[in-house]
């Protein structure tokens, strides 16, 4: 039976169902409700877990790292500046191939200060070597969190579950919570076999010189590429338990036969789907919901884009001085195809800018104008608010 839950509260419950042994976190909007929820479950004796409320995100990631190498299932959560403060440790966790799970409650980065939703924070960690899974709904966030622990533990890689701040984390909606039996059956107790134990004294994080460093990176890269199978498998297996699936690496939705594609990450998908249904006079689109950004699902993406004439890559972040982040990657993997679609790379919804139902029409207009696509634009920037020379 569905429960009316705030996204963060539902995530806290989902994480508790995964029985983490150590949770470390530092408060940052919009992540706070998640860790508050976990802290309350621990305080009420509903979760046997060491909850470590640390003095910075740098330490939150470090405590999670220490807990994981000491053999425990570990979890942390953050957003925005917190992700950046963690950055050094996040790269280290991935490089050491330590399995743990974190939630990124996606938020814009400073400066100027902005506490609202976009995806610049997790995109900044693109090259950290973490698996990154983006969720379109709170139901997906719950189910992906459960899957994330299994993916992390089987691949010995850390997994970041990216959930749009406020849009998902602070939205109350009816959600199906899995049962403890379902999660226990899917996620057996775990002990990190490469962890630290006095009976078998290992040295982790040693000094690795030029003689071995390339091989470390090679192995890490290939572990991420191989993780694609595990991501698909986890989604399929969990789907059998709860009857909900999210397409593994990506999901094709909307009008599958359409020649216009729109690729999105995260929660904006629901808005676009609603807009398409409410505007039957507008051309219909094939939606490609990119779930796994790292590893980047090149083959699955080529298959999903087959037959497209136009593809709009809609992002919630950018690389200033170049343009999009996801767009160029999509362009690169489609480049060798026999008749690749024309790619329109746009950003929207930066720093919490509302993405209303009109967005769909504006995107479709890009194609209807018949113009050659601009390399990149922030489609919802208001010219009247810009200095004259930038309009």
């Amino acid at each position: 039976m569905p429960l009316a839950l705030e996204g963060s509260q539902a995530l806290a419950r989902a994480i508790a169902l995964c029985r983490p042994q150590v949770v470390a976190a530092y408060p940052i909007t919009p992540q706070t409700h998640i860790v508050e929820g976990i802290a309350k479950l621990v305080a009420d004796g509903q979760l046997d877990c060491e909850m470590v409320s640390v003095e910075s995100e740098h330490s939150a990631a470090s405590v999670a790292l220490g807990a994981a190498v000491a053999g425990s299932r570990a979890y942390t959560a953050s957003a925005s500046q917190g992700i950046l403060l963690m950055a050094e440790v996040l790269f280290d966790i991935a490089g050491l191939r330590v399995p743990l799970v974190m939630t990124c409650a996606n938020r814009a980065l400073s400066g100027p200060l902005n506490i609202w939703n976009d995806q610049q924070d997790s995109m900044a960690m693109r090259d950290s070597g973490w698996i990154q899974l983006y969720c379109a709904t709170n139901q997906e966030a719950i189910d992906t969190t459960v899957q994330a622990f299994r993916i992390a533990e089987r691949c010995e890689l850390p997994v970041m579950v990216c959930v749009d701040g406020f849009t998902l984390t602070h939205t109350l909606e009816p959600l199906e919570m899995p049962t403890q039996e379902q999660v226990d059956g899917f996620l057996p107790p775990y002990f990190f076999r490469h962890g630290l134990h006095p009976d078998e004294p290992r040295s982790l994080g040693t000094l690795v010189g030029p003689e071995h460093f390339s091989e470390v990176r090679h192995a890490h890269h290939h572990a991420l590429l191989r993780a694609q199978d595990e991501i698909v498998q986890a989604d399929a297996d969990w789907g059998e338990v709860v009857g909900r699936q999210y397409g593994g690496l990506l999901e094709v939705r909307g009008e599958p036969e359409a020649t216009l594609g729109i690729l999105t990450l995260g929660s904006v998908l629901g808005t676009l789907e609603d807009a398409m249904e409410e505007n039957p006079d507008l051309p219909r689109a094939r939606f490609i919901k990119l779930r796994s950004f790292r590893p980047f699902p090149a083959q699955a993406l080529r298959e999903a884009c087959a037959g497209l004439e136009h593809l709009i890559v809609l992002e919630r972040a950018l690389s200033p001085g170049y343009g999009g982040i996801v767009g160029p990657e999509v362009q690169a993997v489609l480049a060798g195809q026999s008749s690749p679609p024309k790619i329109y790379n746009v950003a929207a919804g930066l720093g919490g800018r509302d993405m209303s139902l009109e967005l769909y029409g504006r995107l479709v207009d890009l194609i209807a104008s018949g113009r050659e696509p601009e390399p990149f634009c922030i489609i919802d920037a208001d010219p009247m608010l810009l200095p004259e020379e930038d309009r």
């Binding site: 042994q21 470390a24 640390v54 220490g66 807990a67 190498v69 425990s72 040295s203 000094l207």
Partner: protein, 339 residues
């Protein structure tokens, strides 16, 4: 030994088990010989003494620094203990995480955190303060060699006043480091942790006793071990112990113990020595012996710091004791050996 015993260990090819090897050793060695420290490295000695006294049922988190670099050039490792290095500033947090995990798992293994003075006084300080505030059962050991030695001797918050480093060079406008050595132990004391102490490689029995005491302490404990660096301090590698001993005998490095922030013991100085005896053995203070008014003022300044330490901690011994700067670590016929 191999850094990862499960993967093609060379030790596995020796027809003798690790357990037998261990049992034949006079005492447990957590840090093996054969590592790449410089001759006369005070930090290597301090780490060996610490891990010997701590025993095998520990896990170690190690901050970035010489100790990490000279002990673990992949695929080798000098550690016989489970050991992790993450980054420079997070050793206390990694240790806190390991402690939380072991506690949740119901394991009694003790957690040690090792850092140099940079990883303690400066970049690692916030994580250290947080770990102590939360009361994790972690023994934090600062191997204090008073500068960033691993990167080539740059000044740290622990570098003594007037010392020369590559980023506090003496010159026409400067007499070495302009600022004071941070009084880290007072800051630690303000956290009111169960046990905090200073020690020196010149007094190994005292050092071992303090390690055992810290290991027996429930909650956070802190040891600051004065560890001369022949390369960075510019002294003969054969004189590491002599230099370390003089730091204590002059009063520049007081040996003290604290419980919950209260002073509970000191190593009395039987015959206080002038600071110049200590300073003149080291190139980092060479500029203080120039024929220069400012140099003489700085020497007086350093002597005043030492005098102030002796006064503040009441370090001056009133009579010859088995536990003072002359008696400690001296074995007397008839068994009057302290500790």
């Amino acid at each position: 030994m191999n850094a990862n015993p499960s993967k093609g260990s060379t030790l596995a090819e020796i027809p003798i088990s690790i357990e037998t090897l261990r049992s034949r050793q006079p005492r447990f060695r957590g840090l093996e010989s054969g590592h790449r420290a410089c001759q006369g490295c005070g930090e290597a000695l301090a780490a060996r003494l610490t891990t010997e006294a701590a025993g095998p049922d520990v896990v170690v988190a190690n901050a970035t620094g010489c100790l990490e670099v000279f002990t673990t050039p992949w695929p080798q490792s000098a550690w016989r203990l489970p050991w992790i290095h993450s980054v420079f500033g997070n050793v206390a947090a990694v240790a806190a995480g390991m402690e939380a995990a072991l506690k949740q798992q119901g394991r009694a293994t003790q957690v040690l955190a090792f850092a140099g003075d940079g990883g303690t006084f400066d970049i690692g300080f916030q994580a250290l303060s947080g770990m102590m505030e939360r009361g994790h059962n972690v023994m934090f050991v600062c191997f204090d060699n008073e500068a960033y030695m691993n990167t080539g001797v740059q000044r740290s918050g622990s570098t003594p006043h007037a010392a020369m480093t590559t980023t506090s060079p003496p010159g026409r406008e400067r007499m070495g480091k302009r600022h004071m050595k941070k009084d880290i132990l007072s800051i630690i004391a303000a956290h009111h942790i169960p046990y905090a102490a200073t020690a020196s490689v010149a007094f190994p029995s005292d050092l071992r006793k303090k390690v055992r005491r810290a290991m027996d302490t429930e909650g956070a404990s802190f040891l600051q071990i004065h560890s001369p660096c022949p390369l960075g301090w510019g002294h003969d590698g054969a004189k590491t112990i002599e230099v370390a001993r003089l730091a204590v005998q002059t009063g520049l490095f007081p040996i003290i113990e604290m419980e919950r922030g209260e002073l509970i013991g000191t190593l009395p100085i039987r015959n206080p020595r002038p600071v110049s005896d200590y300073l003149k053995l080291q190139n980092r203070f060479r500029h203080l012996f120039a024929d220069d008014f400012r140099a003489r003022k700085e020497l007086e300044h350093l002597q005043a710091i030492a005098d102030r330490n002796i006064e503040r901690y009441e370090l001056r011994g009133v009579r010859a004791e088995s536990y003072d700067t002359e008696g400690a670590d001296t074995v007397h016929r008839g068994g009057d050996r302290w500790a």
